[in-house]
Structures are given as C-alpha cells and as structure tokens.
Symmetry: C2
Subunit: 213 residues, 2 copies
C-alpha cells in the first residue's frame, strides 16, 4: 500500500517507516528536513520535504493511508489539533486516504474509570508538558465528532519508549498493562500494531490502544 508518515524521523515515525518498508509497502516520509530522513533511512528514502501546514491535497491524495506521527514542543502543542483539523478538512467526504492519528495515552481511562489526563495533571512539574496530552485529548474529541472522514486513532500505553517490537496487545478505551505490571509500549510494538491495522482494518472511525505483551 502507499503509506505516508508525517513526522517519520521521530521516535514513533522511525519505527513505523522501518516496519512499513520491511513489509513491502511503498512508504513516503513527510519531513521538514530531508537530510535527517536520508541519514536515518538511506538514500533510497522517498520524501516530501515540507512543513505539514503547507501540505496540499494534491501532495496527499494519492496515498492509501497517512499516519500522523507529528510531534512538537509543549509550547506549540495546539498544533496537534490544528493539524488534525487540517487533514480532516482536506479529506471530507472521502474514504481514501485513511487518516491514522497517534493520539497519546491521556484520553484513556484507568481501572477506576478515571481519565488518565487527570492523573497526569497531578504529576510534579506537569505544567511544563501537560499541554501535549491535553491537546492530544482535544484532538481525539474533535475526531470523535467527525463522521465523513475515514479516520482511526491509536493511543500508546502510559509509557511510550523507543525499543524493539514485542507482541502487541490491543484494547479500546482503557489503559492496558503489560506482563511486567507496567503500562508500556515500545515504538517497535506500536509500529507492528499500526501496520497490522493498516493491512487489516478493525477500528473504523474510532480509537484503540496498544501495549507490549
């Protein structure tokens, strides 16, 4: 399939790019700096070198799936919502490309039904980064109001770290726990789960979550 990855040189994007290519897909990295993509993925990498907010419909409409692994600094966290709104606006009343959003864990519920974002807000020094989970939560709520776009969201577990793939365990709206007792997912496992979902769609217009087994 033709897959575009926004933010392909970030932690999630890098694992996704490699997993996609290893499965034989035609993967394009959408990045601000082509040099970084070449250094990570080699000279053969297909790149669209653009600020995401300059992307046009014609840049994107040939893809089967666009995975949004965009990341930003906390002071610009609102760009997550703006980018989701932009992508939705470009592809109203279409089925393709499918829009695949990596949304953060804050919108998940813990075993008591408490929003994980509310727990995160109580963490010392949360003020310095809480804008990122807050905006990711807003982005999911925005997407949940959208009916005529082919979107799916994925939330990592409480910890989302670089690392090799294990077997992904999937859930819907609750934080998952791994066999070691932690709620953790590695970038490799996330990439496997996302590629599985791309190849065999199970979650249409909704969000799922992934943890390491």
């Amino acid at each position: 399939m033709k897959i575009a990855i926004i933010g392909a040189t970030g932690m999630a994007g890098t694992a996704l790019y490699k997993e996609g290519v290893s499965r034989g897909h035609d993967v394009t990295a959408i990045v601000r700096h082509k040099d970084k993509a070449v250094s990570l993925f080699g000279n053969g990498v297909k790149v669209i070198e653009k600020d995401v907010f300059d992307l046009t419909k014609s840049d994107l409409e040939g893809f089967d799936v666009i995975v949004n692994a965009f990341a930003t600094a906390p002071a610009k966290a609102y760009l997550h919502l703006d980018l989701a709104a932009k992508l939705v606006g470009l592809f109203r009343e279409t089925q393709s490309p499918r829009l695949f959003f990596i949304l953060g864990a804050a919108s998940l519920l813990d075993e008591n039904g408490k929003l994980f974002l509310d727990t995160l807000k109580t963490v010392p020094e949360a003020a310095s980064w809480i804008s990122i989970p807050t905006e990711a939560y807003k982005t999911l709520n925005f997407l949940r109001s959208i009916e005529n776009v082919n979107w799916v969201g994925v939330s990592p577990s409480a910890e989302f770290v670089a690392g090799e793939a294990t077997v992904p365990v999937l859930g819907k709206d609750h934080l998952l726990s791994s066999s070691n007792g932690k709620s953790i997912v590695t970038s490799g496992t996330m990439a496997v789960a996302i590629l599985n979902e791309i190849e065999n769609p199970q979650f249409i217009g909704t969000r799922f979550t992934v943890c390491n087994q």
Copy 2:
C-alpha cells in the same frame, strides 16, 4: 475599526455590513461573488472576492475583527467546523484579529436545561437540515477548547429572521424569550448586538445569545 465579514451577502452578513458602515467602521465584505456585494451595498463596497478556504493569513491579519457569518447548504454543514478550525489555526497566539462566530441557537439550553439541539432533532423533517445546527454545536465545543485565540461566539434565538433592529436583550447559555412570548431575533437586532460587542467587548473566549426585546 477594521472589520471583515465572511458571508457578508447573507441574511446576517447584510445587516452586519450595513450596521458597521452606519457606525463609521471600515468594513470589508469577504464574498465569493463581488457582483452580489456591489448590488447589495453599492460600488463603494470594499471586497475580498475569495472562497473562504483559500483565504490566507495575509488576507486577514490587518483586520481588528473578523465576523464569520458563513452559511452553507445542509450537505456541506461540516464546513462550519472546518472554517472555524482554519481561522483558529491562522491566528493562534494572537490577540488580533478578534474572531467573531455566529453559531446558531442549537447549543443553547431551554428552561429545563435541555439542549435545544435535542429538541430540534424531534422536529418533523429535521433530517433535511439538522446537520447545520449539529455542526454549529460542534463548532462551539471546538472553540471552547481553544485558549490562545481571541474568539467570541454569538447564538441567535430559536427563530432568526430578516428584519429591522429592535433593542437587543443579551444572555449567556440559555434560550431567551422576547416580550411577545417567542424566542426570536431579527438580523437587524443581531447586527446591533454584534457591533455593540465589537465596540465594547464583554464576552471574551465565550458565547452569548441575543433576542429581540
């Protein structure tokens, strides 16, 4: 003040344009068809002739206020939300221009605290137009999540009809009733209320409602 009106040739926009000019403001009509603006407002009308989704930051950043009186057919009602997201995205982290949204009455509460949208859904044949109040309600919810943009929303009363100005009565989140027992606002009264709010801001980052006295 420098005021731009999106949808200036519609019912709300026409009254707004006339009220703004009569108060000595520098008013620009943002319209798809200049001819229609000229026929309504005369050869002296200042126009930006563009599809709203082609507007750029440089088209808009010189204005003190942008009033969004955009209207569309029910099949394209989602464009209300997309346009709000576009305007928000253009003016993040700014105080000017102030973004002024006409939002519909569906997001108001009746005397029992019931959302007016839920009442509208029960009206016979609502299916043919319910997308418009539904998307206006989503737009308000979207705006309520926005913290770094200078926005204000205004909801008309249950009936919003063309007509001369009376004295506007203002409220916040509940449907108002006029002295004749109806919940009604005319385009003239709405224009007076909006120009009052532009000249003397009382509602910052929130929504108010207007009815005829």
